[in-house]
Structures are given as structure tokens and as C-alpha cells.
């Protein structure tokens, strides 16, 4: 994503729609935190991680899953 002015985000950053292995058809959205943008691809396996933004706020996020 490249639009400037989205609060809390410095472009470019990656947003992915993720389908859970545990429940096909269940989609969720997150950022892929550890992958260079040019290496992202559709179908790439990822795993969940939890990003603590503050004492009150923790977001489920995603990192590359190495097989």
C-alpha cells in the first residue's frame, strides 16, 4: 500500500487477505510483517503472530511460514 496519510502507517506496507488452513473459506486481513514486498506472492504460506501495539491493543499479524 502506497497512499500516504493512513494513520500509523508508513508506505509502502503489505496488506494480505489470508485464508485459514483450519477453516477453508474463512478469510482474515492482516499485515505480513517479515517479508520483503517483492517476495510476497498469492498462495504464500503464513503463520499468525501477535503484535503488541500498546498495553491494551494487540493485533493478530502474519509472518512467512517456512516449510
Amino acid at each position: 500500500m502506497h497512499l500516504p496519510g493512513v494513520p500509523g502507517f508508513t508506505p509502502p506496507y503489505a496488506v494480505a487477505v489470508i485464508e485459514l488452513d483450519e477453516q477453508p473459506g474463512l478469510l482474515t486481513v492482516g499485515n505480513v510483517l517479515d517479508c520483503p514486498l517483492e517476495e510476497l506472492s498469492i498462495g504464500m504460506p503464513v503463520q499468525v503472530t501477535f503484535e503488541e501495539l500498546s498495553e491494551d491493543v494487540t493485533l493478530p499479524q502474519w509472518t512467512r511460514r517456512r516449510e
Binding site: M1, L3, V6, P12, V15, L27, V29
Partner: protein, 393 residues
């Protein structure tokens, strides 16, 4: 054209007899009320009718869309000095300008009123900076946006970028195909005095433009403008009394998708529902091969290949090649967005497409005139509320 008329068909019972269009500019310097009244006056004059002939009004005004420039039927009734209306409505199919025209055509076809006015007005956001489009709430997220905004994902172009990524990587689409589309539409706009964009565009400039949200760049998104359009629809048995050749409303179809967002979809390549396409041609008694031209809403460039596939004009995965081969250009097999589309004429959410379709079918399109057209397709909608119409002479 083929197929018997179905017992409940609206087929050809209404006709567009007047159109008005202010032209698209970045700053009209006047209030929206002035713009839409200019368009209304032009449409009535074009039809050879007076305000008192209007007994129905539809506009795309709804409480759920922040489109403050759009008048309500109340506003228009008062502004035109009418004693009241027999019929009024919001948009059909959530599809803005075309939805209003479709509502009006249905009302006229079913005897709710005799002559209806459909109006749309758009205002370019004057606030500086990207937050002008964050009206779905990067700052205050609710509903589905509560699951998106925390990830920096709340602006329409970002969501359509996700869809575009999938089309490019898995559905036979290439940026070079989109380049051809966008550049051809710009060249159409240069022949349209109502268009906001006045400079030619090259494939090189398209491909090297800055990203809005990769893989969508600056020229993949439509151009916000100040503009208004108005359309007069009357009973086809009275249309011959009007000033110009009536343009008959053959059929309109709408579709409401299973979900209101662009993100949590089972199949991005079918975000524009194929269910609409399967039904649309049969009910209209017209086939894709009958089309003289098409005006396919291009709020983003990728809508065009999606619509082509959803309506079965090409098979799934083939729209990119079809566009890349120049079929949509002037002189191609299906000239498309002959006015420049929302990308280059301006963001009228299909309003310009309606006016252009009428002018093409009347043979009034000047240098961009399609050779002896008889049937035009209009599609509007960029989310799972969509509308498509077939007009003919």
C-alpha cells in the same frame, strides 16, 4: 436481437428523450445546486419538455452514502416548482446514476408515472490530502472496517488493489492490457468537450506513474470532478413527440452480491456477479454480439475486464487479451467508454456513460461517433451492488 418478449418484461416501454451534462471540471466555482439545475434545464430543453411535464423523480441520494451534492427528490420538486410527484425513488441496485435512470425507466414502464427525471451530481473533494477519501473511517472504524482499518486498509483503492493483484497473477490480466485501455480512453476523452482530461496519455506514462496502491497506479483510478447530469425518461408511446430520436430502454438488471464489502469474497475474479450476466441478455432479448458499443463503468481500470467477464462478453481469463488486442478502442469490435469513461471524462459514476450512450445512439457524438450504432450497453457499480442496461434505437 432475438427472443420472445416475456410476459412481465419492461422491454421498450420507456425511452430516454432528454439528456443534460454540465461537463466535467476540477472546480466549477458554483454550488452543486447550480450544477444540477443547469443539467436539468438542459435535459428538459433537449426533450422539448417543461418542468410541469415531470411527474416522477429519482436521484442516487441515500442516507448511507456521503454524497452531499446529490439532490433528493424533495429538493428537485421544490426547485422545479412542481405541485408534487406521482412517483419518487432512490437508486436501483445502489448503482448511482444508472440506478436512478433504471428506477425511472421501471416506474414509467409500469405506469407509476409518465415522465420521470433522473439526476446525479458529483463534487470533487476540496480538502487537501489523502484523508479526503477515508470517509469509511481510518480514524473511526466500525462494522467490517474494524477488521481492516487497524491494518492500514480502509480506502477503496487499496481494496481494489487486492482484487487487481489477484486478477494480474491468476486471471490472465497484465498491466500492459490496462495501459491500452486507459490510453485508448484518454484518446476518446480528447474528442469529448465535456471531459476534464485534456492532455494525451502514453503507455510509458501509464506504466511509470506512481503507485496509489500497487498494482494500481495514478491512472488506474477515476478523476474526481465537479459535474452534474440529468436524464428525462418518458413512455415510449409518447416519446415520438419529443425533440429528438427516442432512445428506447430495452432492459435494466441489477444484482445485489452476497456481501457488502470488497474484501471477504470467495472469488475475486467473480466480484462482479456472473449471476447477473447469465440472466441479463436472456431477459433483454439481446446478445453480446448485437452491441454497437459499451460504456462500462471504470471507477478503477480493473472494473472493465471484470465486467467483460461477468457479462460473458468474453470467457473468464480472456478479458486482458481482448483489451490488449484493441477491441475496445475506437474502430475496434466493441468500442468502449467512447466518452473517456470515469477515468478521463470524469467521475460521474456512470452518469456520463448514460449521456454518451444517448448521444451515440442519436448520432450526435461528433468526432468520436461510432459507425451507425443501434445497441449500447451501460454498466455501473464497482461493488456487489451493480446495474446494467441496454439502450437502443
Amino acid at each position: 436481437m432475438s427472443g420472445g418478449v416475456e410476459p412481465y418484461s419492461m422491454r421498450d416501454r420507456s425511452a430516454i428523450v432528454g439528456v443534460g451534462h454540465t461537463g466535467c471540471v476540477k472546480d466549477a466555482g458554483v454550488a452543486p445546486e447550480v450544477m444540477w439545475m443547469r443539467a436539468v434545464r438542459e435535459a428538459l430543453d433537449d426533450a422539448g419538455l417543461s418542468p410541469r411535464d415531470i411527474d416522477g423523480i429519482s436521484t442516487p441520494y441515500t442516507d448511507t452514502w456521503p454524497m452531499g451534492a446529490v439532490p433528493t427528490p424533495f429538493t428537485l420538486t421544490e426547485s422545479l416548482g412542481l405541485p408534487g410527484l406521482r412517483w419518487h425513488s432512490g437508486p436501483l441496485g445502489g448503482a448511482y446514476s444508472l440506478g436512478s435512470v433504471a428506477s425511472a425507466a421501471l416506474a414509467v414502464s409500469t405506469g407509476q408515472c409518465d415522465t420521470a427525471l433522473a439526476v446525479h451530481c458529483m463534487v470533487r473533494p476540496k480538502r487537501k490530502g489523502p484523508t479526503a477519501y477515508n470517509y469509511k473511517g481510518a480514524q473511526r472504524a466500525s462494522g467490517v472496517y474494524a477488521h481492516l482499518a487497524p491494518y492500514g486498509y480502509s480506502v477503496f483503492v487499496q481494496m481494489m488493489a487486492t482484487v487487481a493483484r489477484r486478477l494480474l497473477d491468476t486471471n490472465g490480466l497484465a498491466r500492459e492490457h490496462l495501459a491500452r485501455l486507459v490510453v485508448d480512453q484518454r484518446s476518446n476523452a480528447l474528442l469529448n468537450p465535456l471531459a476534464v482530461m485534456k492532455d494525451p496519455l502514453t503507455v510509458e506514462r501509464y506504466l511509470s506513474a506512481r503507485w496509489l496502491a500497487e498494482p494500481l497506479g495514478l491512472y488506474d483510478a477515476d478523476m474526481p470532478v465537479d459535474a452534474a447530469i440529468a436524464v428525462v425518461i418518458t413512455r415510449s408511446d409518447r416519446a415520438g413527440d419529443c425533440r429528438h430520436t427516442p432512445v428506447l430502454v430495452r432492459h435494466v438488471s441489477t444484482f445485489l452480491g452476497p456481501r457488502p464489502d470488497w474484501v471477504f469474497q470467495a472469488d475475486y475474479a467473480e466480484l462482479f456477479p456472473v449471476e447477473l450476466g447469465r440472466d441479463f441478455w436472456r431477459r433483454a432479448g439481446i446478445e453480446p454480439g448485437d452491441l454497437s458499443f459499451a460504456q462500462i463503468q471504470d471507477g478503477f481500470s480493473v472494473y472493465v475486464p471484470m465486467w467483460l467477464e461477468a457479462l460473458g462478453i468474453v470467457k473468464r481469463g480472456e478479458a486482458g487479451g481482448f483489451i490488449g488486442d484493441g477491441n475496445l478502442a475506437r474502430g475496434g469490435t466493441l468500442p468502449t467508454n467512447t466518452h473517456g469513461g470515469n477515468l478521463s471524462e470524469g467521475r460521474l459514476q456512470g452518469g456520463g456513460a448514460v449521456v454518451e450512450t444517448v448521444r451515440q445512439l442519436r448520432g450526435e457524438a461528433g468526432e468520436r461517433q461510432v459507425d451507425r450504432p443501434s445497441v449500447g450497453l451501460i454498466t455501473v457499480g464497482g461493488s456487489p451492488t451493480v446495474c446494467a442496461a441496454l439502450l437502443h434505437v
